[in-house]
Amino acid sequence: MDAYITKIKEISERLLKDGTVEAVIGFRQGTVPTMSEPCMIKRSDDVKDLVWDSNCRINLCNYLTNRKEKLAIVAKGCDSRNIVTHIIENKIKRDQLFIIGVPCKGMNDKNTGELQDNCGTCTHRNPVIYDELVGDLVEEQTDVDKYADVKKVEALSSDEKWNFFNDLYSSCTRCHACRNACPLCYCPTCFVDESKPQWVGKADDAVDIRTYHFLRAYHCAGRCTDCGSCEAACPQNIKVRQMTKKLEKDCSELYGWEAGLTLDERPPLDTFKVDDREDFIK
């Protein structure tokens, strides 16, 4: 970790000094312990503020949307996959970016201090796209069952599922932190904020809460990299990923797709293939 941050600072300072980039997006010490917060460093003197520890769980790709200037970004495996998704979706151009790749062994859970749930089953710890690495590539995990918890929910009857999700979201206050932390949620006006027409109620009615989580998850289908930003941002510690992960599993099973691995292929939900599954259509 120490070697990583020395290297991150060194690269950032160099890029800012020679004018390759206008700003570096990284992490600095947060205002509370175990929370490192995203920051944008614009002057080479401020590079000293950058930190890298096991609390850098937020996905920095979120801050790239529609930027026009040249930027450097510190990217873990999941961040880099979201950067790929951003490039595919024309939210940023590759040549605007200098990606400082950080091979990652997982971030710590903000409450328990143990390895985050999604990091435990991560199979893309190394950045898939980068300009410079801050350390040697780490070994990727194999034989992990990414979807063990999703399978458990799938096995429930429809009434049991209903109750399961009722319990899951019972403490949700609709603060929308999961949406704000998500690099995929960049719509200029989110469907929950729209009032003409108003798609979903704005209060904390159980039906509205469910509709919000359900629809947000669907918007992330085939794009979600399971980076865990949503869960890390949730002040109520709701397992938001239960829903997004199911969609991730479906995309992997139905289309053999994992988001953000290549710039050369369109995601399954914005392209058509003759062998797409259609047996659910009458």
Binding site: K161, G201, D205, D208, R210, K282
Partner: protein
């Protein structure tokens, strides 16, 4: 999600396939009637007395 299978159905019907449309609508209506009214997605209205 907890929505009963059968309540949500997909079909692809061309504007020229009127008979298929009628058949599908009949089928969907039947299967939904079998399931009965949807008790789940109901918002409780606040009572002011």
């Amino acid at each position: 999600m907890g929505v009963e299978p059968g309540r949500l159905q997909f079909s692809w019907i061309s504007s020229a396939e009127s008979t298929k449309f009628v058949d599908v609508v009949k089928q969907v209506t039947e299967s939904v009637k079998e399931l009965g009214p949807n008790e789940k997605f109901i918002k409780k209205t606040v009572k002011v007395s």
